[in-house]
Symmetry: C2
Subunit: 308 residues, 2 copies
C-alpha cells in the first residue's frame, strides 16, 4: 500500500525538491538533470542582487512581503510609489480586498471619501498611463514557447513580459505575484496609491490594460492566504476583517542590518535557460509524458539568500 | 482624486460585477453585452443540475467544499472514492499539505506507516492509471483559442480538457480547482485515497501524467486560504498545524434537505459560447485593448442556485 503523503510529494514536485546528484557512468548518454540540480550548480554570475532602491518591504503582522519595483516599465508610477513609501502613505492602512483566484488589493479603504481620505503628500496627483513601453533599450530574453495572449513572451530584467515586435512595444505580464496599480475607467487614473497583487490564475487579459509596477519576490504565501472578502469582488464590508498594513518602506531607507539580502536568478543566464528546458521536458521517474511546453507564468523565477 | 478602493473594483472585475442593463437606442449597433449580462439572460436549458451521486461534500470547520466527480474520465478511481466516502475513510483525517501557488493535499497523514495507516476498507488496493481516455463517446466543446500544452482544448460535460485528435485521446486539464489523485512514481500507484486540489497557476505539465478525478465547483476559497506548510513542498511537520477534515460524503448519501442544490452552466450552450466571447474580447469602458484570446483555465465555469 504505497499511496501516501510522501507520494504526491516525490511525485509532483520535483521542481521544488533537490534531487541527490546521481553518479554518471562513463560512456552513457548525459543523465537528465532536474531544474534544481542545474540551479544548484549555477555559477555566481548567474545571479543578480536585488537593488534596495527598487525594493519595497510590505510589513504585515504575519511577516514581510518583498517586492521588486520595475522603474524601467513604469518610471512615473514607481517614482510616486517611492515618494509615498518615504512619506509613510500606507502605514496603518489595509488590505481591504481579497478575491479568490484573482487579487489582493491594498491602500486607503476610505480613499473614496474626501473627508476621510489620507493625503498623498508630495506625491503626484496625476500620472500618465504606463501600460507598455518602447522595446528599444530593453534586453528581451525570449521564451520560445507559443503564447495566446501576446505575439512573443519572455523576460526583461527578470520580469515576465509580453512583446510585440511589430509595434515595438513590451509590457509586464500579469502572473502570480505581479503588482499593479489600480485605476478607474480612465487609462490615466492611477497614481500608485491603490495596489493589487495577483494571487490566482494569471489574468493576462489585463496585460497592456493597466500599469504594472513590479512583482512580489518573497512572501507571496503571506498574501495568498488572506481570507477572501465576503462582499462582491472580495471586499470586506466590516473594517475589522481587513488586514492592517504595518508599513510599506523602501529597503534603501532601512539600515542595512534590517534588510533582507536577496539574489535572483538572471533570466539571461545559461542556468535559467537550461533550468527552464528541464521543466519544459521533464525526464525524471515521475513524468510519463514530458509536456514539451511551458507557459510564461509557469516559469519559476528562483530567489535565494546570497552565498558567502 | 479618484483612485480608490471602488476603482480596481469597477475597473478590473467586470467579469464578476453585474452591469446594469443599459438602454439601447434604436438604430445604433448592438451594444456590447458583458458575460454577466449574457448569463443573466440565459434560458433555463443552458444549465444542468449537479448529480448528487457524482458530488462530494468535503466538510471543514470553515464550511463545505463541493466537488463534482468525473467518472467518465476516471471510472475506477471515482468508484473507489465513492466507496471510501461511504465508508468514512477521510472523516477525521486532514489536509496535511498546502504549497503556495500549487496544491492543497489531503488524506491520511500516517498513510506511510503501516502501523498507523487507516484501512482502505472494501476499496480496491490497486487501480489502473486513468490519465486519459478515448475521445469516442465524449461530446467535446472545443475552445477555438490556441494552447501550448495540448493540440486542442475545450470542455467535456463542463470539465476543462486537453484533446489530441490524432491520438484520439482526451484528458482532464489541471486548472484552478482541479481534483487529482496523488501517486508515487509508478503510473498505477494511485487509489484515490490521497487527493490534491490545484489552488495556484495551472500546473498543466501534470496533464495526462496523473489521474484527475473531478473539480471543486463551490468553496475553493475555503481551501485556497489554508496556511502554507512550513516544511518543504508545503507539508506540516507539526500535526496541530494540519486542517482537520470533518468528513467527506457523497451528496447522494445525505437526506435531500442537507444537500446544496446547484446548477452549472452547460459548456455546450449558446450562453456559454457567447459569455466566453464577451470575455475574450472585452469592449466595456475599462478595457482599452481587448485580449482577443482566452486561456482554457481562465474561462469561468458559472455555478448558481437553482431558480424557482
Amino acid at each position: 500500500m504505497s499511496l501516501r503523503p510522501a507520494l504526491l510529494a516525490c511525485a509532483i514536485a520535483l521542481l521544488s525538491s533537490p534531487l541527490a546528484a546521481a553518479e554518471q557512468s562513463k560512456g552513457e548518454p548525459p543523465k537528465y538533470k532536474s531544474a534544481q540540480e542545474i540551479i544548484d550548480a549555477s555559477p555566481a554570475d548567474a545571479w543578480r542582487t536585488l537593488d534596495p532602491a527598487n525594493t519595497l518591504y510590505l510589513e504585515l503582522e504575519t511577516g514581510r512581503v518583498i517586492i521588486e519595483l520595475a522603474p524601467q516599465f513604469a518610471p512615473e508610477h514607481v517614482a510616486n510609489i517611492r515618494t509615498m513609501a518615504r512619506e509613510h502613505f500606507w502605514d496603518g492602512l489595509s488590505i481591504y480586498r481579497s478575491q479568490d483566484n484573482f487579487v489582493v488589493q491594498f491602500g486607503d479603504p476610505d480613499g473614496d471619501d474626501p473627508a476621510k481620505a489620507r493625503s498623498l503628500g508630495t506625491a503626484k496627483k496625476k500620472l500618465p498611463a504606463e501600460f507598455h513601453r518602447a522595446s528599444a533599450g530593453l534586453k528581451f530574453d525570449r521564451l520560445p514557447d507559443p503564447d495566446g495572449w501576446a505575439p512573443q513572451v519572455g523576460f526583461v530584467d527578470g520580469f515576465p513580459v509580453g512583446h510585440d515586435p511589430k509595434a515595438g512595444t513590451t509590457w509586464l505580464a500579469h502572473c502570480y505575484g505581479t503588482l499593479g496599480a489600480g485605476r478607474n475607467n480612465d487609462a490615466d487614473s492611477s497614481v500608485g496609491a491603490e495596489l493589487y497583487v495577483v494571487d490566482g490564475q494569471s489574468p493576462r487579459q489585463l496585460d497592456d490594460n493597466i500599469t504594472v509596477v513590479g512583482r512580489v519576490v518573497q512572501g507571496m504565501e503571506l498574501l495568498s492566504v488572506i481570507p477572501r472578502g465576503p462582499a462582491p469582488m472580495g471586499f470586506y464590508e466590516k473594517p475589522e476583517l481587513r488586514t492592517t498594513i504595518k508599513s510599506i518602506k523602501l529597503a534603501s531607507e532601512l539600515p542595512e542590518a534590517e534588510r533582507v539580502p536577496l539574489q535572483l536568478l538572471r533570466t539571461d543566464s545559461k542556468t535559467f535557460v537550461e533550468a527552464t528546458e528541464a521543466r519544459r521536458n521533464r525526464r525524471d521517474d515521475f513524468y510519463k509524458r514530458p509536456a514539451g511546453h511551458i507557459d510564461l507564468c509557469n516559469v519559476p523565477l528562483p530567489v535565494r539568500a546570497p552565498k558567502n
